[in-house]
Amino acid sequence: MRHLLSYIVTRLLLAVPMIFIMLTLIFVVLRIMPGDPVSAMLGGHAPQKVIDQKKLELGLNKPIAVQYVRYLGQLLRFDLGESMIFKQKVSQPIIEKLPATIELTLFGLLVSLAIGIPLGAYAAQRRRTGRDYAARLYANVAYCIPVFWMGLMLQLVFGVWLGWFPIAGRTGARVDVSAFGRTGFYIIDTLRAGKVAAFADVMWHLALPAITLGVVLSGIFVRLTRANMLDVLKSDYILAARARGIPERRVVYSHGLRNALIPVVTMLGLQFSLLLAGAILTESTFSWPGMGRLLLERIYLRDYPVIQGVIIVYTLFVSVVSLLVDLLYAAIDPRVKY
């Protein structure tokens, strides 16, 4: 237990240089960008005096190095600072939007695993048959569908033509989860408040975005599962299981798949950053009020502190997930010890 704890702490500390590097990159990039929050806010017509005054207030007239050191000092106190455009702390919009992104990515991941793993295992079992090639073609095609286009097509077919699903937002106009929810996770909030209709509405809105994200990512999981299954099916214990007369289906899906999934789990961490990138585009397509839309909005406004805050949260998100994946790895593979 103590080993595990120290491992977790070490891993989290290892995220620090990553955050630092990304943050520095973004910080410098933002400040050498043409345009700044003051001009974005006041438009081009404000007198120079007003602009200078505002820049002085925000500390933008200082050299980049000074601004940078000051910002790092702030971070050490776990303070993300304040927005330069709106009167709000940086943490406020992030806390509001993060649950939406987590809900979307989580369900997207579930959809992609639910498609990818069975299909990959099936393809491996039928290696070099027509069905195997069909599954691999699916994997390639799914991977090459631009996420946003997938979203648009689903919107067109299931939203506009068939009218089965809504094409924008997290809830319908009549459902206001923030009135009774506290966590911001609409699924949890509606369930805790016991509002079944609201819960159904939330799931109904989540369906198309999650399927969009899930289908596009499922291609990778088909490929990973298939490749690992092929390796596993060659191993001695599979031969042994077959020799004992265990039904083929059980050999493949129970003995084989379990072991093939271990490497798939380890790859989950890397796929996660693809998932986040896809989520930005899905959010933009489905007007999903998450971190991705927040980032894009604030990039147009040049709201430096919020952009930096969002980048930090994304980096943390990636690190935490890869830590969780490692812990999961230890849990399912008894040979791994920390």
């Binding site: 990304m22 990039v29 991977y143 090459c144 994304y314």
Partner: protein, 305 residues
């Protein structure tokens, strides 16, 4: 191959004519051996070839101009005169698809080349030199690699502003770590090979070893990654211009056309979004299939994980 003693580093010599001859010979002899993989390679190459022809001879494919705002009616559905209909500015959608191929293909190819040209030398140097230089560079590259690439591209595209060269650079930044990690890893293992040791023993200079022994052996895997990478770059370019960070108006671009079409989607204008998206997918698919086919042929173990 690499373990055998040989006087010359393997794959150090390559002439186009002998290469072509051996390729043709290989094609006929290995059809049985590779079966489906060969089919994937060919299909990918055909898709790419078709779109490349489209970019070179756009006039052979359409008589309309992609910027002609008087090509037909406004948002007319596909008809005989306009096989993919017209958009909200009365432009011919098929013409925009044809000319848009130039933009996306050009940007993706250039971006992949730029990131390869930066990533490969850095990876070679880092893997070969080792030490603190390698540590720091690897840390930076690993951070960039595990971070969602699109966010980086968004930040750079926003910084540089709209423009063809700017979007190319923004896309290129994302893929530098891919080449770096691959080449560095390969360099580390090739560095220990017997033929490199032999070269060192006869007193070859470091630059010679790097250029004549390590580099040619790294490059075979790079070809595969380059192809897969172009597929990725295609989608990143499309994504950037879809969210409005890519190109100035006036340049026909599939991603931009999609975001335009999105506005008219609720009123059921399906042709504006269907065709550009289909083309992005097709082009990316072409490069993915080419890459997979190549991988299977050049180095079967590369893509298994």
């Amino acid at each position: 191959m690499s373990g055998q003693p040989s006087r010359r580093a393997p794959a150090a010599r390559f002439s186009p004519s002998s290469g072509l001859a051996s390729l043709l010979g290989w094609f006929s002899s290995s059809r049985r051996k590779y079966g489906g993989e060969l089919w994937i390679l060919t299909a990918g190459a055909l898709i790419i070839a078709l779109i490349v022809v489209m970019t070179v001879f756009p006039r052979a494919f359409t008589r309309y101009s992609p910027v002609d705002q008087d090509a037909g009616g406004q948002m007319t559905p596909p008809s005989r005169a306009h096989i993919m209909g017209t958009d909200n500015l009365s432009r011919d959608v098929w013409a925009r698809v044809v000319y848009g191929a130039q933009t996306i293909l050009g940007v993706a190819l250039a971006a992949a080349l730029v990131s390869a040209l930066i990533g490969i030398p850095l990876g070679l140097l880092s893997g070969f030199a080792g030490g603190i230089f390698d540590r720091v560079l690897s840390l930076i590259m690993d951070s960039m690699y595990s971070f969602p690439g699109l966010i980086l591209a968004i930040a750079f595209a926003a910084m540089l502003g709209p423009g063809v060269i700017n979007i190319t650079l923004a896309v290129a930044v994302v893929y530098i770590p891919t080449y770096f990690r691959l080449v560095r890893g390969q360099t580390l293992s090739i560095k220990e090979e017997v033929y490199v040791e032999a070269a060192r023993a006869i007193g070859a200079r470091r630059s010679t070893i790097l250029g004549r022994y390590v580099f040619p052996n790294v490059i075979a895997t790079v070809v595969v990654i380059l192809s897969l990478n172009i597929a990725d770059a295609i989608m990143t370019e499309a994504a950037l211009s879809y969210i409005g960070l890519g190109l100035p108006a006036g340049i026909p671009d599939w991603g931009m056309d999609l975001s335009m079409g999105k506005k008219f989607l609720p009123s059921g204008v399906w042709w504006m979004i269907t065709f550009p998206g289909l083309m992005i997918m097709l082009l990316a698919l072409g490069f993915t299939m080419l890459g997979e086919g190549l991988a299977e042929v050049l180095n079967p173990r590369l893509l298994e994980r």
